[in-house]
Homo-oligomer: 144 residues x 2
């Protein structure tokens, strides 16, 4: 009827916690938190995103993101400016320093991923990422 060992959210959670804890320790040595890394990683491609996009990209809640961006702005990792197209929206962009620290951390992130996926074929990884995307999309229908 209900077996924890076959319950998907259980497996997702424990795997996610383990990955985040390990990388979080490395991030802490660089003075960063995991949510900060998520913002940097989301900004890495393209270099800038609207706040609304960052909420989607990072799964960080709006008010948390707003203050996180303030902190990171104060530390010189990114800039915040109003959008030209819609002055209600805010565009967040990496600074040179933000790019530097992100570039410095990417090898650690990829190394951890490689270890986590040890023994997986390229094909298996594609299948896994596809499944996680399908679940993410399906879960949009879960009622709050």
């Amino acid at each position: 009827m209900f077996e924890l060992a076959r319950f998907l959210p259980y497996h997702i959670n424990r795997t996610g916690v383990r990955l985040a804890t390990a990388f979080g320790a490395e991030l802490a040595r660089h003075g960063l938190s995991v949510p900060m890394w998520r913002v940097l990683a989301a900004l890495w491609q393209g270099g800038e995103r609207k706040s609304a996009d960052l909420i989607v990209d990072t799964s960080i809640e709006q008010s948390t993101l707003s203050r996180l961006v303030t902190t990171m702005e104060q530390r010189g990792m990114l800039t915040r400016r109003r959008s030209n197209h819609d002055a209600r929206a805010v565009v967040v962009a990496l600074t040179e320093e933000g790019r530097r620290v992100t570039k410095e951390l990417i090898p650690y992130a990829l190394r951890n991923e490689r270890i986590a996926l040890r023994g997986f074929s390229r094909e298996e990884i594609d299948i896994l990422l596809g499944m996680l995307t399908r679940i993410y999309d399906n879960a949009a229908d879960l009622k709050l």
Copy 2:
């Protein structure tokens, strides 16, 4: 070099956050948090676990778990007693009320899982759970 869309921790995190947020809303209507549900779910099979086991089962950090158990004990969901075999260890057990609320929540949990896994075959689910377990095991080697 680094693509967020192909980065495993990114997919794990956003899927986990979405699942936890949706079920957390249901739990809140029962006066519970997601970590509380994790404790209940871990205790469901067998009805009791040592604190050290619960840390593994729930991925909740030791001091957080200790106070969480205190809260749940005060609310009558579970009991805490010293182990007979080793009086350093604490055994946590569901009360009748704890069993009742867990039993009440299981259908919601299973319903959410069913929606999240919509379109998946039984075979695919087995493959997915197997992959997540392999990643979890591999990730034990990540250095902190």
